[in-house]
Symmetry: C2
Subunit: 251 residues, 2 copies
DNA sequence: CGAACTTTTGAGTAGACTCAAACGGGGTGG
DNA sequence: CCACCCCGTTTGAGTCTACTCAAAAGTTCG
Protein backbone atom coordinates (compact mmCIF):
# COMPACT_ATOMS: atom_id res chain seq x y z
CA UNK A 1 0.00 0.00 0.00
CA UNK A 2 1.28 3.42 -0.91
CA UNK A 3 0.17 5.96 1.57
CA UNK A 4 1.49 9.04 -0.11
CA UNK A 5 -1.02 9.01 -2.93
CA UNK A 6 -3.93 9.04 -0.57
CA UNK A 7 -2.53 11.20 2.16
CA UNK A 8 -4.89 13.86 3.34
CA UNK A 9 -3.52 16.52 5.67
CA UNK A 10 -6.64 16.21 7.79
CA UNK A 11 -5.92 12.59 8.55
CA UNK A 12 -3.50 11.70 11.27
CA UNK A 13 -2.08 8.25 11.21
CA UNK A 14 0.20 6.09 13.26
CA UNK A 15 2.83 7.43 15.50
CA UNK A 16 6.08 5.87 14.47
CA UNK A 17 7.85 6.47 17.67
CA UNK A 18 10.15 3.51 17.84
CA UNK A 19 10.41 3.47 21.59
CA UNK A 20 6.66 3.26 21.93
CA UNK A 21 5.78 0.70 19.33
CA UNK A 22 8.70 -1.67 19.23
CA UNK A 23 8.18 -2.90 22.72
CA UNK A 24 4.41 -3.00 22.48
CA UNK A 25 3.04 -6.39 23.45
CA UNK A 26 0.02 -5.69 21.27
CA UNK A 27 2.21 -5.26 18.22
CA UNK A 28 0.67 -7.86 15.97
CA UNK A 29 -2.79 -6.70 16.96
CA UNK A 30 -2.14 -3.06 16.24
CA UNK A 31 -4.96 -1.38 14.37
CA UNK A 32 -2.38 0.56 12.44
CA UNK A 33 -0.03 -2.30 11.65
CA UNK A 34 -0.54 -2.15 7.91
CA UNK A 35 0.48 1.45 7.69
CA UNK A 36 3.54 0.94 9.82
CA UNK A 37 5.73 1.09 6.74
CA UNK A 38 8.47 3.30 8.19
CA UNK A 39 9.19 5.34 5.13
CA UNK A 40 5.62 6.35 4.52
CA UNK A 41 4.40 6.53 8.05
CA UNK A 42 6.99 9.00 9.18
CA UNK A 43 5.46 11.63 6.97
CA UNK A 44 2.15 11.69 8.71
CA UNK A 45 1.05 12.81 12.10
CA UNK A 46 0.31 10.22 14.70
CA UNK A 47 -3.14 8.73 15.09
CA UNK A 48 -2.19 7.11 18.31
CA UNK A 49 -0.11 7.96 21.30
CA UNK A 50 0.98 5.99 24.28
CA UNK A 51 -0.46 6.94 27.64
CA UNK A 52 0.14 5.66 31.09
CA UNK A 53 1.27 4.03 33.21
CA UNK A 54 -1.96 3.83 35.15
CA UNK A 55 -1.83 2.19 38.54
CA UNK A 56 -4.03 -0.39 40.20
CA UNK A 57 -7.26 1.18 41.33
CA UNK A 58 -7.12 4.15 38.95
CA UNK A 59 -10.18 4.87 36.87
CA UNK A 60 -9.46 5.17 33.17
CA UNK A 61 -13.01 6.34 32.50
CA UNK A 62 -16.20 6.54 34.49
CA UNK A 63 -19.68 5.57 33.47
CA UNK A 64 -21.27 8.54 31.73
CA UNK A 65 -18.00 10.11 30.59
CA UNK A 66 -17.99 11.41 27.04
CA UNK A 67 -16.42 8.99 24.59
CA UNK A 68 -13.49 10.55 22.79
CA UNK A 69 -10.91 7.81 22.27
CA UNK A 70 -10.50 4.13 21.83
CA UNK A 71 -7.81 2.48 23.93
CA UNK A 72 -5.61 -0.41 22.91
CA UNK A 73 -4.11 -2.25 25.85
CA UNK A 74 -0.35 -2.54 25.42
CA UNK A 75 0.46 -3.87 28.85
CA UNK A 76 -1.53 -4.53 31.98
CA UNK A 77 -5.12 -5.49 32.81
CA UNK A 78 -8.30 -3.43 32.99
CA UNK A 79 -11.78 -4.42 34.11
CA UNK A 80 -15.14 -2.85 33.38
CA UNK A 81 -17.65 -2.49 36.20
CA UNK A 82 -21.29 -1.57 36.38
CA UNK A 83 -23.59 -1.03 39.31
CA UNK A 84 -26.45 -3.49 39.54
CA UNK A 85 -30.03 -2.60 40.43
CA UNK A 86 -29.39 -3.80 43.92
CA UNK A 87 -26.53 -1.32 44.18
CA UNK A 88 -23.64 -3.72 44.05
CA UNK A 89 -20.57 -3.48 41.83
CA UNK A 90 -20.40 -6.12 39.15
CA UNK A 91 -17.37 -6.86 36.97
CA UNK A 92 -18.46 -7.14 33.34
CA UNK A 93 -15.25 -7.92 31.47
CA UNK A 94 -11.46 -8.04 31.67
CA UNK A 95 -9.26 -6.46 29.02
CA UNK A 96 -5.79 -7.83 28.37
CA UNK A 97 -2.87 -6.76 26.16
CA UNK A 98 -3.97 -6.57 22.56
CA UNK A 99 -7.61 -5.83 23.39
CA UNK A 100 -9.33 -2.75 21.97
CA UNK A 101 -11.65 -0.85 24.31
CA UNK A 102 -14.28 1.60 23.17
CA UNK A 103 -16.64 -0.23 20.85
CA UNK A 104 -19.20 -0.32 23.62
CA UNK A 105 -19.15 3.47 23.80
CA UNK A 106 -19.07 4.50 20.15
CA UNK A 107 -22.75 4.32 19.31
CA UNK A 108 -24.01 6.51 22.15
CA UNK A 109 -20.83 8.55 22.55
CA UNK A 110 -20.86 7.78 26.25
CA UNK A 111 -19.01 5.17 28.29
CA UNK A 112 -21.51 2.68 29.70
CA UNK A 113 -19.31 1.36 32.51
CA UNK A 114 -16.37 2.29 34.68
CA UNK A 115 -12.96 1.14 33.48
CA UNK A 116 -10.76 0.29 36.44
CA UNK A 117 -7.06 -0.47 36.28
CA UNK A 118 -6.46 -3.95 37.63
CA UNK A 119 -2.74 -4.21 36.92
CA UNK A 120 -0.33 -1.39 36.00
CA UNK A 121 -1.29 -0.47 32.47
CA UNK A 122 0.14 1.14 29.36
CA UNK A 123 -2.28 2.13 26.65
CA UNK A 124 -2.33 3.29 23.09
CA UNK A 125 -4.90 6.07 22.81
CA UNK A 126 -6.64 6.38 19.46
CA UNK A 127 -8.75 9.45 18.82
CA UNK A 128 -12.20 8.20 17.84
CA UNK A 129 -12.70 10.90 15.27
CA UNK A 130 -9.34 10.34 13.63
CA UNK A 131 -9.66 6.58 13.66
CA UNK A 132 -13.06 6.67 12.04
CA UNK A 133 -11.81 9.03 9.41
CA UNK A 134 -8.77 6.87 8.82
CA UNK A 135 -11.05 3.88 8.35
CA UNK A 136 -12.80 5.68 5.52
CA UNK A 137 -9.54 6.54 3.87
CA UNK A 138 -7.53 3.36 4.31
CA UNK A 139 -9.34 0.14 3.42
CA UNK A 140 -6.80 -1.83 5.44
CA UNK A 141 -7.72 0.03 8.58
CA UNK A 142 -11.41 -0.40 7.88
CA UNK A 143 -11.07 -4.11 7.41
CA UNK A 144 -8.97 -4.41 10.57
CA UNK A 145 -11.64 -2.58 12.50
CA UNK A 146 -14.41 -4.73 11.06
CA UNK A 147 -12.54 -7.81 12.09
CA UNK A 148 -12.13 -6.41 15.59
CA UNK A 149 -15.82 -5.71 15.87
CA UNK A 150 -16.67 -9.18 14.73
CA UNK A 151 -14.29 -10.78 17.20
CA UNK A 152 -15.53 -8.62 20.00
CA UNK A 153 -19.16 -9.56 19.33
CA UNK A 154 -18.33 -13.24 19.07
CA UNK A 155 -16.12 -13.32 22.15
CA UNK A 156 -18.44 -11.45 24.42
CA UNK A 157 -21.71 -13.00 23.36
CA UNK A 158 -20.45 -16.54 23.25
CA UNK A 159 -18.09 -16.47 26.19
CA UNK A 160 -19.73 -19.33 28.01
CA UNK A 161 -18.56 -17.72 31.21
CA UNK A 162 -21.42 -15.35 30.61
CA UNK A 163 -23.92 -18.18 30.34
CA UNK A 164 -25.23 -18.24 33.85
CA UNK A 165 -27.49 -21.15 33.25
CA UNK A 166 -24.41 -23.32 33.62
CA UNK A 167 -23.47 -24.66 37.02
CA UNK A 168 -21.06 -22.48 38.96
CA UNK A 169 -18.34 -25.08 38.80
CA UNK A 170 -18.62 -25.17 35.01
CA UNK A 171 -18.24 -21.42 34.78
CA UNK A 172 -15.15 -21.51 36.97
CA UNK A 173 -13.47 -24.33 35.11
CA UNK A 174 -14.26 -22.92 31.72
CA UNK A 175 -12.99 -19.49 32.55
CA UNK A 176 -9.77 -20.76 34.10
CA UNK A 177 -9.03 -22.63 30.88
CA UNK A 178 -9.91 -19.60 28.76
CA UNK A 179 -7.74 -17.38 30.89
CA UNK A 180 -4.85 -19.80 30.70
CA UNK A 181 -5.05 -19.83 26.91
CA UNK A 182 -5.52 -16.09 26.65
CA UNK A 183 -2.51 -15.38 28.84
CA UNK A 184 -0.18 -18.01 27.42
CA UNK A 185 3.05 -16.33 26.32
CA UNK A 186 2.63 -13.60 28.89
CA UNK A 187 4.19 -13.16 32.30
CA UNK A 188 1.02 -14.62 33.82
CA UNK A 189 1.48 -18.15 32.55
CA UNK A 190 4.51 -20.31 33.21
CA UNK A 191 4.12 -24.00 32.51
CA UNK A 192 0.87 -25.20 33.96
CA UNK A 193 0.78 -22.35 36.42
CA UNK A 194 -1.68 -19.52 35.88
CA UNK A 195 -0.95 -16.44 37.92
CA UNK A 196 -4.23 -14.57 38.33
CA UNK A 197 -3.95 -10.92 37.35
CA UNK A 198 -6.97 -10.06 39.47
CA UNK A 199 -7.98 -11.00 42.99
CA UNK A 200 -10.13 -14.07 43.43
CA UNK A 201 -12.83 -11.84 44.86
CA UNK A 202 -12.98 -9.77 41.69
CA UNK A 203 -12.87 -12.86 39.52
CA UNK A 204 -15.80 -14.26 41.51
CA UNK A 205 -17.76 -11.10 40.76
CA UNK A 206 -17.05 -11.46 37.06
CA UNK A 207 -18.20 -15.06 37.18
CA UNK A 208 -21.41 -14.00 38.89
CA UNK A 209 -20.91 -15.73 42.22
CA UNK A 210 -19.92 -14.78 45.74
CA UNK A 211 -16.27 -14.90 46.76
CA UNK A 212 -17.13 -17.68 49.22
CA UNK A 213 -18.68 -19.87 46.55
CA UNK A 214 -15.69 -19.31 44.31
CA UNK A 215 -13.32 -20.26 47.09
CA UNK A 216 -15.26 -23.42 47.87
CA UNK A 217 -15.27 -24.43 44.21
CA UNK A 218 -11.50 -24.06 43.96
CA UNK A 219 -11.15 -26.15 47.11
CA UNK A 220 -13.38 -28.81 45.56
CA UNK A 221 -11.39 -28.83 42.31
CA UNK A 222 -8.20 -29.25 44.31
CA UNK A 223 -9.70 -32.12 46.29
CA UNK A 224 -10.61 -33.79 42.99
CA UNK A 225 -6.99 -33.43 41.88
CA UNK A 226 -7.82 -31.23 38.91
CA UNK A 227 -5.98 -28.11 40.04
CA UNK A 228 -3.69 -26.87 42.76
CA UNK A 229 -5.07 -23.84 44.53
CA UNK A 230 -2.41 -21.25 45.33
CA UNK A 231 -2.36 -17.65 46.52
CA UNK A 232 -3.31 -15.49 43.51
CA UNK A 233 -2.68 -18.45 41.23
CA UNK A 234 -3.72 -21.93 40.17
CA UNK A 235 -1.85 -24.86 38.70
CA UNK A 236 -3.92 -26.61 36.06
CA UNK A 237 -3.82 -30.39 35.94
CA UNK A 238 -4.74 -32.73 33.11
CA UNK A 239 -6.76 -30.75 30.60
CA UNK A 240 -8.87 -33.64 29.35
CA UNK A 241 -9.96 -34.49 32.89
CA UNK A 242 -10.69 -30.84 33.63
CA UNK A 243 -12.83 -30.50 30.54
CA UNK A 244 -14.64 -33.72 31.36
CA UNK A 245 -15.54 -32.26 34.75
CA UNK A 246 -17.36 -29.39 33.02
CA UNK A 247 -19.61 -31.71 31.12
CA UNK A 248 -20.46 -33.89 34.07
CA UNK A 249 -21.60 -31.03 36.28
CA UNK A 250 -25.34 -30.82 36.74
CA UNK A 251 -27.80 -28.05 35.75
CA UNK B 1 -23.93 11.90 -2.48
CA UNK B 2 -23.43 11.19 -6.12
CA UNK B 3 -23.25 7.52 -6.72
CA UNK B 4 -22.41 7.67 -10.38
CA UNK B 5 -18.92 9.06 -9.91
CA UNK B 6 -17.90 6.24 -7.67
CA UNK B 7 -19.87 3.45 -9.24
CA UNK B 8 -17.83 0.37 -9.79
CA UNK B 9 -19.31 -2.40 -11.89
CA UNK B 10 -18.08 -4.91 -9.34
CA UNK B 11 -20.22 -3.39 -6.62
CA UNK B 12 -23.84 -4.31 -6.34
CA UNK B 13 -26.03 -2.03 -4.37
CA UNK B 14 -29.58 -1.77 -3.17
CA UNK B 15 -32.42 -3.44 -4.82
CA UNK B 16 -34.98 -0.78 -5.64
CA UNK B 17 -37.85 -3.14 -6.00
CA UNK B 18 -40.71 -1.03 -4.78
CA UNK B 19 -42.87 -3.93 -3.72
CA UNK B 20 -40.13 -5.25 -1.47
CA UNK B 21 -38.87 -2.14 0.18
CA UNK B 22 -41.87 0.12 0.51
CA UNK B 23 -43.64 -2.18 2.88
CA UNK B 24 -40.54 -3.11 4.81
CA UNK B 25 -40.99 -2.53 8.53
CA UNK B 26 -37.25 -2.09 8.81
CA UNK B 27 -37.27 0.79 6.36
CA UNK B 28 -35.68 3.45 8.51
CA UNK B 29 -33.10 0.97 9.72
CA UNK B 30 -32.11 -0.17 6.27
CA UNK B 31 -28.38 -0.42 5.77
CA UNK B 32 -28.84 0.89 2.29
CA UNK B 33 -31.20 3.74 3.10
CA UNK B 34 -28.83 6.50 2.06
CA UNK B 35 -28.35 5.09 -1.39
CA UNK B 36 -32.03 4.66 -1.90
CA UNK B 37 -32.06 7.73 -4.13
CA UNK B 38 -34.30 6.33 -6.86
CA UNK B 39 -32.56 7.90 -9.81
CA UNK B 40 -29.12 6.66 -8.93
CA UNK B 41 -30.02 3.39 -7.30
CA UNK B 42 -31.91 2.07 -10.27
CA UNK B 43 -28.72 1.93 -12.27
CA UNK B 44 -26.98 -0.55 -10.05
CA UNK B 45 -27.55 -4.16 -9.32
CA UNK B 46 -29.12 -5.13 -6.05
CA UNK B 47 -27.05 -5.74 -2.97
CA UNK B 48 -29.97 -7.19 -1.12
CA UNK B 49 -32.91 -9.36 -1.91
CA UNK B 50 -35.95 -10.33 0.06
CA UNK B 51 -36.26 -13.94 1.14
CA UNK B 52 -38.93 -15.82 2.99
CA UNK B 53 -41.43 -16.30 4.37
CA UNK B 54 -39.92 -18.72 6.86
CA UNK B 55 -42.27 -20.49 9.21
CA UNK B 56 -42.18 -21.10 12.94
CA UNK B 57 -39.72 -23.84 13.76
CA UNK B 58 -37.68 -23.48 10.55
CA UNK B 59 -33.94 -23.15 10.90
CA UNK B 60 -32.50 -20.16 9.07
CA UNK B 61 -28.95 -21.34 9.76
CA UNK B 62 -27.39 -24.01 11.92
CA UNK B 63 -24.38 -23.79 14.16
CA UNK B 64 -21.29 -24.47 12.06
CA UNK B 65 -22.84 -23.39 8.74
CA UNK B 66 -20.61 -21.28 6.56
CA UNK B 67 -21.33 -17.57 6.85
CA UNK B 68 -22.26 -16.06 3.49
CA UNK B 69 -24.87 -13.41 4.16
CA UNK B 70 -26.12 -10.98 6.71
CA UNK B 71 -29.85 -10.93 7.30
CA UNK B 72 -31.96 -7.91 8.11
CA UNK B 73 -35.26 -8.81 9.73
CA UNK B 74 -38.11 -7.14 7.87
CA UNK B 75 -40.96 -8.89 9.63
CA UNK B 76 -41.20 -11.64 12.21
CA UNK B 77 -39.07 -12.90 15.09
CA UNK B 78 -35.98 -15.11 15.18
CA UNK B 79 -34.10 -16.55 18.13
CA UNK B 80 -30.56 -17.85 18.41
CA UNK B 81 -29.91 -21.02 20.36
CA UNK B 82 -26.82 -22.79 21.59
CA UNK B 83 -26.34 -26.10 23.33
CA UNK B 84 -24.95 -25.86 26.83
CA UNK B 85 -22.30 -28.14 28.28
CA UNK B 86 -24.99 -30.08 30.04
CA UNK B 87 -26.65 -30.71 26.69
CA UNK B 88 -29.62 -28.40 27.03
CA UNK B 89 -30.81 -25.84 24.52
CA UNK B 90 -30.38 -22.29 25.64
CA UNK B 91 -31.87 -19.24 23.92
CA UNK B 92 -29.22 -16.56 23.52
CA UNK B 93 -31.05 -13.70 21.85
CA UNK B 94 -34.20 -12.61 20.04
CA UNK B 95 -34.09 -10.68 16.77
CA UNK B 96 -36.94 -8.36 15.83
CA UNK B 97 -37.79 -6.28 12.76
CA UNK B 98 -34.99 -3.86 12.00
CA UNK B 99 -32.30 -6.05 13.57
CA UNK B 100 -29.25 -7.09 11.58
CA UNK B 101 -28.04 -10.65 12.04
CA UNK B 102 -24.58 -11.87 11.10
CA UNK B 103 -22.06 -9.80 13.04
CA UNK B 104 -21.48 -12.74 15.34
CA UNK B 105 -20.44 -14.86 12.36
CA UNK B 106 -18.30 -12.50 10.31
CA UNK B 107 -14.99 -12.88 12.09
CA UNK B 108 -14.77 -16.66 11.93
CA UNK B 109 -16.89 -17.08 8.82
CA UNK B 110 -19.02 -19.61 10.64
CA UNK B 111 -22.35 -19.28 12.42
CA UNK B 112 -21.86 -19.83 16.15
CA UNK B 113 -25.49 -20.68 16.96
CA UNK B 114 -28.67 -21.98 15.43
CA UNK B 115 -31.11 -19.37 14.17
CA UNK B 116 -34.65 -20.57 14.67
CA UNK B 117 -37.76 -18.90 13.29
CA UNK B 118 -40.02 -17.94 16.17
CA UNK B 119 -42.69 -16.07 14.18
CA UNK B 120 -43.26 -16.11 10.42
CA UNK B 121 -40.38 -14.10 9.03
CA UNK B 122 -39.41 -12.07 6.00
CA UNK B 123 -35.77 -11.19 5.58
CA UNK B 124 -33.55 -9.01 3.54
CA UNK B 125 -30.49 -11.06 2.58
CA UNK B 126 -27.26 -9.10 2.14
CA UNK B 127 -24.30 -10.87 0.61
CA UNK B 128 -21.44 -10.51 3.07
CA UNK B 129 -18.87 -10.06 0.35
CA UNK B 130 -20.87 -7.41 -1.47
CA UNK B 131 -21.80 -5.55 1.67
CA UNK B 132 -18.23 -5.37 2.86
CA UNK B 133 -17.12 -4.15 -0.52
CA UNK B 134 -19.91 -1.58 -0.59
CA UNK B 135 -18.78 -0.34 2.82
CA UNK B 136 -15.35 0.38 1.38
CA UNK B 137 -16.84 2.28 -1.52
CA UNK B 138 -19.64 4.24 0.10
CA UNK B 139 -18.73 6.07 3.30
CA UNK B 140 -22.42 6.31 4.21
CA UNK B 141 -22.74 2.56 4.23
CA UNK B 142 -19.57 2.17 6.24
CA UNK B 143 -20.74 4.61 8.85
CA UNK B 144 -24.15 2.94 9.04
CA UNK B 145 -22.47 -0.41 9.59
CA UNK B 146 -20.16 0.99 12.25
CA UNK B 147 -23.14 2.41 14.06
CA UNK B 148 -24.84 -0.97 13.86
CA UNK B 149 -21.82 -2.72 15.32
CA UNK B 150 -21.63 -0.24 18.12
CA UNK B 151 -25.30 -0.60 18.97
CA UNK B 152 -25.09 -4.35 18.81
CA UNK B 153 -22.15 -4.45 21.21
CA UNK B 154 -23.79 -2.04 23.61
CA UNK B 155 -27.19 -3.75 23.53
CA UNK B 156 -25.92 -7.26 24.00
CA UNK B 157 -23.25 -6.60 26.57
CA UNK B 158 -25.27 -4.24 28.67
CA UNK B 159 -28.67 -5.87 28.37
CA UNK B 160 -29.20 -6.26 32.08
CA UNK B 161 -31.39 -9.22 31.29
CA UNK B 162 -28.13 -11.00 30.66
CA UNK B 163 -26.80 -10.04 34.06
CA UNK B 164 -27.55 -13.17 35.96
CA UNK B 165 -26.31 -11.85 39.23
CA UNK B 166 -29.63 -10.02 39.47
CA UNK B 167 -32.56 -11.72 41.15
CA UNK B 168 -34.83 -13.64 38.79
CA UNK B 169 -37.69 -11.27 39.38
CA UNK B 170 -35.51 -8.34 38.36
CA UNK B 171 -34.54 -10.03 35.14
CA UNK B 172 -38.16 -10.74 34.31
CA UNK B 173 -39.40 -7.25 35.05
CA UNK B 174 -36.57 -5.58 33.24
CA UNK B 175 -36.97 -7.67 30.13
CA UNK B 176 -40.72 -7.20 29.98
CA UNK B 177 -40.20 -3.45 30.00
CA UNK B 178 -37.46 -3.67 27.38
CA UNK B 179 -39.61 -5.86 25.20
CA UNK B 180 -42.55 -3.52 25.54
CA UNK B 181 -40.43 -0.58 24.42
CA UNK B 182 -38.78 -2.51 21.62
CA UNK B 183 -42.10 -3.69 20.23
CA UNK B 184 -44.01 -0.45 20.61
CA UNK B 185 -45.50 0.52 17.22
CA UNK B 186 -45.66 -3.09 16.14
CA UNK B 187 -48.53 -5.51 16.10
CA UNK B 188 -47.27 -6.92 19.42
CA UNK B 189 -48.04 -3.90 21.54
CA UNK B 190 -51.47 -2.31 21.86
CA UNK B 191 -51.92 0.11 24.73
CA UNK B 192 -50.46 -1.40 27.86
CA UNK B 193 -50.82 -4.92 26.48
CA UNK B 194 -47.69 -6.76 25.35
CA UNK B 195 -48.40 -9.79 23.22
CA UNK B 196 -45.43 -12.12 23.59
CA UNK B 197 -44.02 -13.23 20.24
CA UNK B 198 -42.45 -16.30 21.85
CA UNK B 199 -43.77 -18.89 24.29
CA UNK B 200 -43.23 -18.25 27.96
CA UNK B 201 -41.15 -21.42 28.09
CA UNK B 202 -38.75 -20.05 25.48
CA UNK B 203 -38.65 -16.66 27.15
CA UNK B 204 -37.78 -18.38 30.43
CA UNK B 205 -34.86 -20.09 28.71
CA UNK B 206 -33.61 -16.75 27.42
CA UNK B 207 -33.87 -15.29 30.89
CA UNK B 208 -31.88 -18.18 32.30
CA UNK B 209 -34.54 -19.73 34.50
CA UNK B 210 -36.87 -22.70 34.41
CA UNK B 211 -40.34 -22.32 32.93
CA UNK B 212 -41.79 -23.03 36.38
CA UNK B 213 -39.85 -20.23 38.00
CA UNK B 214 -40.88 -17.85 35.27
CA UNK B 215 -44.52 -18.80 35.70
CA UNK B 216 -44.35 -18.33 39.46
CA UNK B 217 -42.76 -14.90 39.06
CA UNK B 218 -45.50 -13.74 36.71
CA UNK B 219 -48.07 -14.99 39.22
CA UNK B 220 -46.30 -13.03 41.95
CA UNK B 221 -46.20 -9.85 39.88
CA UNK B 222 -49.91 -10.22 39.20
CA UNK B 223 -50.64 -10.70 42.87
CA UNK B 224 -48.69 -7.50 43.57
CA UNK B 225 -50.89 -5.69 41.06
CA UNK B 226 -47.99 -4.80 38.77
CA UNK B 227 -49.10 -6.77 35.72
CA UNK B 228 -51.96 -8.87 34.46
CA UNK B 229 -50.85 -12.31 33.37
CA UNK B 230 -52.58 -13.50 30.20
CA UNK B 231 -52.13 -16.34 27.73
CA UNK B 232 -49.11 -15.43 25.56
CA UNK B 233 -49.35 -11.85 26.80
CA UNK B 234 -49.04 -9.48 29.73
CA UNK B 235 -50.67 -6.16 30.58
CA UNK B 236 -48.20 -3.79 32.18
CA UNK B 237 -49.39 -1.66 35.06
CA UNK B 238 -47.88 1.52 36.44
CA UNK B 239 -44.37 1.83 35.13
CA UNK B 240 -42.91 3.69 38.08
CA UNK B 241 -44.16 1.01 40.48
CA UNK B 242 -42.84 -1.75 38.24
CA UNK B 243 -39.42 -0.15 38.07
CA UNK B 244 -39.41 0.34 41.81
CA UNK B 245 -40.01 -3.38 42.25
CA UNK B 246 -36.77 -4.12 40.40
CA UNK B 247 -34.70 -2.09 42.77
CA UNK B 248 -36.26 -3.51 45.89
CA UNK B 249 -35.64 -7.14 44.92
CA UNK B 250 -32.88 -8.79 46.90
CA UNK B 251 -29.55 -10.32 45.75
C1' DC C 1 -63.64 -32.96 19.75
C1' DG C 2 -59.39 -34.83 20.69
C1' DA C 3 -54.32 -34.57 20.63
C1' DA C 4 -50.29 -32.08 21.49
C1' DC C 5 -48.28 -28.58 23.63
C1' DT C 6 -47.84 -24.77 26.94
C1' DT C 7 -48.57 -23.12 31.42
C1' DT C 8 -49.58 -23.54 36.16
C1' DT C 9 -49.44 -25.57 40.72
C1' DG C 10 -47.49 -28.64 44.34
C1' DA C 11 -43.84 -30.85 47.03
C1' DG C 12 -39.34 -31.69 48.16
C1' DT C 13 -34.30 -30.77 47.41
C1' DA C 14 -30.02 -28.65 46.77
C1' DG C 15 -26.90 -25.24 45.31
C1' DA C 16 -25.61 -20.77 46.26
C1' DC C 17 -26.22 -16.87 49.29
C1' DT C 18 -25.53 -14.20 53.70
C1' DC C 19 -23.53 -13.34 57.98
C1' DA C 20 -19.76 -14.25 60.90
C1' DA C 21 -15.30 -15.25 62.21
C1' DA C 22 -10.66 -17.00 61.68
C1' DC C 23 -6.56 -17.17 58.93
C1' DG C 24 -2.61 -15.53 56.13
C1' DG C 25 0.49 -12.50 53.62
C1' DG C 26 2.21 -8.07 52.20
C1' DG C 27 3.10 -3.52 53.20
C1' DT C 28 3.89 0.31 56.46
C1' DG C 29 5.31 2.86 60.23
C1' DG C 30 7.38 3.04 64.68
C1' DC D 1 13.71 -4.94 61.75
C1' DC D 2 9.71 -6.23 63.73
C1' DA D 3 4.90 -5.58 65.02
C1' DC D 4 0.79 -4.38 63.50
C1' DC D 5 -2.84 -3.63 60.35
C1' DC D 6 -5.37 -4.22 56.29
C1' DC D 7 -7.17 -6.81 52.81
C1' DG D 8 -8.05 -10.98 50.48
C1' DT D 9 -9.19 -15.70 51.29
C1' DT D 10 -10.97 -19.58 53.64
C1' DT D 11 -14.11 -22.07 56.61
C1' DG D 12 -18.48 -22.68 59.23
C1' DA D 13 -23.47 -22.42 60.01
C1' DG D 14 -27.93 -21.46 58.73
C1' DT D 15 -31.30 -19.78 55.20
C1' DC D 16 -33.59 -19.21 50.99
C1' DT D 17 -34.02 -18.97 46.09
C1' DA D 18 -34.54 -21.51 42.26
C1' DC D 19 -34.31 -26.21 40.63
C1' DT D 20 -36.32 -30.92 39.63
C1' DC D 21 -39.90 -34.13 39.20
C1' DA D 22 -44.72 -34.81 38.87
C1' DA D 23 -49.26 -33.91 37.63
C1' DA D 24 -53.21 -31.05 36.63
C1' DA D 25 -55.21 -27.37 34.03
C1' DG D 26 -55.58 -24.50 30.10
C1' DT D 27 -54.91 -23.40 25.08
C1' DT D 28 -54.50 -24.12 20.20
C1' DC D 29 -55.23 -26.31 16.06
C1' DG D 30 -56.33 -29.84 12.82
Amino acid sequence: MTISKRTNPEIRLVKVDKEDCDECTAYIDCICAEVRDPGAAKKIKPLSSQIGPYLEGDYLVRRGDKFKSYYLVKKGVIRSEIVSYSGRNKVKWFYFPGDLIGMEAMSEGVWPADLVITKTTLLCELSAEDLEMAAQTFPEIQSRLFKRFGQRILNHEYALASDFSEASITRVVEYLLQLYDRLTDTEWVTGSRLQLPMTKTILASYLGMSAETFSRILAQLEKDGLIVNLPQAVELGDRARIEASMRSAQR
